[in-house]
Symmetry: C2
Subunit: 138 residues, 2 copies
Amino acid sequence: MLEASAFLRAEKKRLTPQRSLLLGIIRQHGHLDADEIYRLARRENPRLSLSTVYRTLNLLKELGLVEELHLGEEHHHYEAKAEEHHHLVCLSCGKVIECRLTEDLRELGRRHGFTMVSAQVELAGYCADCRKQGENDP
Amino acid sequence: MLEASAFLRAEKKRLTPQRSLLLGIIRQHGHLDADEIYRLARRENPRLSLSTVYRTLNLLKELGLVEELHLGEEHHHYEAKAEEHHHLVCLSCGKVIECRLTEDLRELGRRHGFTMVSAQVELAGYCADCRKQGENDP
DNA sequence: CCTCTAATTGCAAATGGTTCGCAATAGCGT
DNA sequence: ACGCTATTGCGAACCATTTGCAATTAGAGG
């Protein structure tokens, strides 16, 4: 939470209780959507507004502390930005496996004369568990 | 257009002029958004409604003829589904390079015990042209 | 061909996620 | 502590997409 205040000061932004609460919540969970964040946050601060959630999410995104995901759903998901990583989504149980493919992807880009800066990757398929449990999946 | 009618009949769906028009348009362009499709289609049929565009897009998506893309923007993009391919988006000129990474990605998934069925991939970076033209990009 | 009926369309209104305007509140540099 | 300015909460606005409904039409069967 404290390093965040450095990021904020650097841009003349303020560290409000709402912001630390939200960042804290995002950091202790993976890929939440705005409404889930809102509901979790309200348990701590019932007066918090949804606009503040969205405004904070956008701020944290600009600061590079949080990443916005497009997991195929209509609405966005957010998660604390650690090292870049990618998602393997199981079509059977819905589990989202995180992994680092950055170097491999950079190499794939290079083969097309492309210099990769960042990657959004979502592989859909079946995780080891589901593959074991039943061969009845499509 | 004609093979489409087979897909449709198979589900008791009808091949209307609106549907062939829309499928035609999607097939002759790459990654259009709903509104672009709407505007192009209206040049042929000015009475066409936006709802029909969306309804048709959803239908074609279910039939597997069209694919919905989430290119980081707020709204969706659509394109005719040919062979699976992936996108390299240039941060400088906005060009979208298409390429096939399927087998490579399957292999990356395998390393995590994951059986990949399909992949959505968007690498952001710089294309060869932009890299050449100026080293003034971020 | 003509008829009948269920599928489809266009329209307008509803929806759901996200943003914005504004007056009230509250960080934080001094 | 003070004051300036960023931030909040609220409600309304916004935009992409969906839906209800009455009018239209594709296409199977006669």
